[in-house]
């Protein structure tokens, strides 16, 4: 059975601007993904618990309030603790270019600022998630 990938879109923290998240939800659904959206005001703990229950392939975090350097890595760490370290985490919102490197070091695989064409995000997810069946140890080493 060819099944769509399941993606969680979440807004951590107290930021209530959800238009961007809704745009992403719509774009991903139109691109053939199954998208779970948990709404605003999610704590990192709630996001990790949701990712666990829904067994998603990727988590997209949307934040416009500037707290990304605190909240995004916290979500990544909590997910690792839950055994979800191999779930892809990506982010978007108002994130200055100078913070992107730090976020990537902390495990955020992709950062998409305002104005990013949604096609780019779709392409990013497809590239990371539509892989062939699990790489053999040899191929995994070659990839690195």
């Amino acid at each position: 059975m060819v099944t769509p990938h399941r993606i969680l879109i979440a807004k951590p923290g107290l930021d209530g601007h959800d238009r961007g998240a809704k745009v992403i939800v719509r774009a991903l659904r139109d691109a053939g993904f199954e998208v779970i959206y948990t709404g605003i005001r999610q704590t990192p703990e709630m996001i990790a618990a949701t990712a666990l229950q829904e067994d998603v392939a990727a988590v997209g975090l949307s934040l416009l309030s500037g707290a990304h350097l605190t909240l995004f890595p916290r979500v990544v760490d909590l997910m690792k603790k839950e055994g979800l370290g191999s779930v892809l985490v990506f982010g978007g919102g108002i994130i200055p270019d100078e913070d992107v490197a730090a976020l990537k070091k902390k495990g955020v695989a992709g950062v998409f600022g305002p104005g990013t064409p949604t096609d780019d995000i779709v392409a990013f997810l497809r590239a990371r998630l539509d892989a062939a069946p699990a790489p053999t140890p040899k191929r995994r080493a070659a990839k690195r």
Binding site: A31, I36, E45
Partner: protein, 327 residues
């Protein structure tokens, strides 16, 4: 026969590997990560799903399953949020399976029911899973029974199934759960709307939501009127109408009492056995249909359609050949 195309999988190693040997045991201990994994394996028919489904069938029938149907916007998800809180207040564990429609054009889905019950996300006594219909009619997902049995094996005593919500088209849920709650709201139609077939025939409890609105008494009266014109149900259960407000919580204890009363009635009247037999029949039918789809439908190629378009064969002939393993 050409082999099927390789399934599209995520690159996450854990999901492409074989099912861990201890997964069944871990689910039975209530390990939430194991429950999530098992749900994925059975709902996506990943390798090992048949063995898992066989194992968890042993646990079927342990839970009281409650289905919620009703048109979009009637407030099913918000009401489920209240029902979950009520169950937790009584010390019960509860699981929710919420189904939303897959887009026929893109294959994707917006699974938005979870949004309404996120306040329970960190409660270890609540498990919620969102599912897409993936082409199945009737407002449900074809693997719904397998998912229910996983949750039963994990010990959830009450399982709430939320259907897509087209309203009149959801008679299937009656063959999946023990108690059907039909949710409506005021201003959704006049007395003739209430008389139409479909949900009227399958509801055990009718919840008129948004009871904070002025029209609710009229909506309740119309429903009761329409129900009084219907023939008596097997076993003598008279469907109840409960005004509720998911927003304020008004009427929720009454709704819970009605759902409990239906369950008690099923057991006292002996009707539960008959209901369960219908569920088993439906579950078997779904498994058979899946096999036929995999073994026959998935082998349809453009060549077959060419034959039909050119009238060199016909659907009955080709259908017969494909379902008997030929063509």
């Amino acid at each position: 026969m050409t082999p099927p195309p390789p399934p599209r999988r995520s690159a996450v190693p854990r999901s492409a590997s074989a099912v861990p040997a201890d997964l069944v045991a871990r689910v039975r201990r209530g390990d939430r990560a194991a429950v999530a994994r098992a749900l994925t394996v059975v709902t996506e028919e990943r390798p090992g799903h048949e063995a898992l489904s066989r194992a968890f069938f042993a646990d079927s029938g342990r839970a009281h399953t409650v289905g919620l149907c009703g048109s979009p916007g009637s407030g099913k998800s918000s009401l489920i949020n209240r029902l979950v809180a009520a169950a937790r207040a009584e010390g019960r564990t509860v699981a929710v399976l919420a189904v939303d429609p897959t887009s026929a054009f893109t294959g994707g889905a917006f699974l938005g029911d979870r949004l309404r019950i996120q306040e329970h996300a960190l409660d270890a006594g609540v498990f919620m899973r969102s599912l897409a219909t993936r082409g199945m009619m009737g407002g449900l997902n074809a693997t719904i029974f397998a998912a229910i049995h996983v949750l039963e094996a994990a010990g959830y005593g009450r399982i709430i199934v939320e259907t897509v919500g087209t309203g009149q088209d959801e008679v299937d849920v009656a063959e999946v759960v023990d108690t059907v709650v039909c949710v409506s709201a005021p201003y959704q139609g006049d007395e003739f709307q209430a008389m139409k077939a479909g949900t009227m025939e399958i509801g055990d409890v009718f919840a008129v939501n948004k009871a904070d609105l002025p029209e609710v008494e009229r909506a309740v009266a119309m429903l009761k009127d329409a129900l009084s014109l219907a023939p008596r149900r097997d076993g003598g259960w008279a469907p109840r109408v409960a005004p509720v407000s998911a927003l304020s919580g008004l009427g929720v204890p009454g709704l819970c009492a009605d759902v409990e009363a239906h369950r008690a009635h099923l057991e006292a009247s002996g009707e539960l056995a008959g209901r369960r037999r219908r569920q088993l029949r439906r579950e078997l039918a779904l498994v058979i249909a899946r096999r036929l789809t995999r073994d026959a439908m998935d082998r349809v190629t453009d060549r077959h359609i060419d034959m039909l378009a050119g009238k060199t064969s016909d659907p009955v002939t080709l259908g017969g050949r494909l379902t008997s393993g030929r063509a």
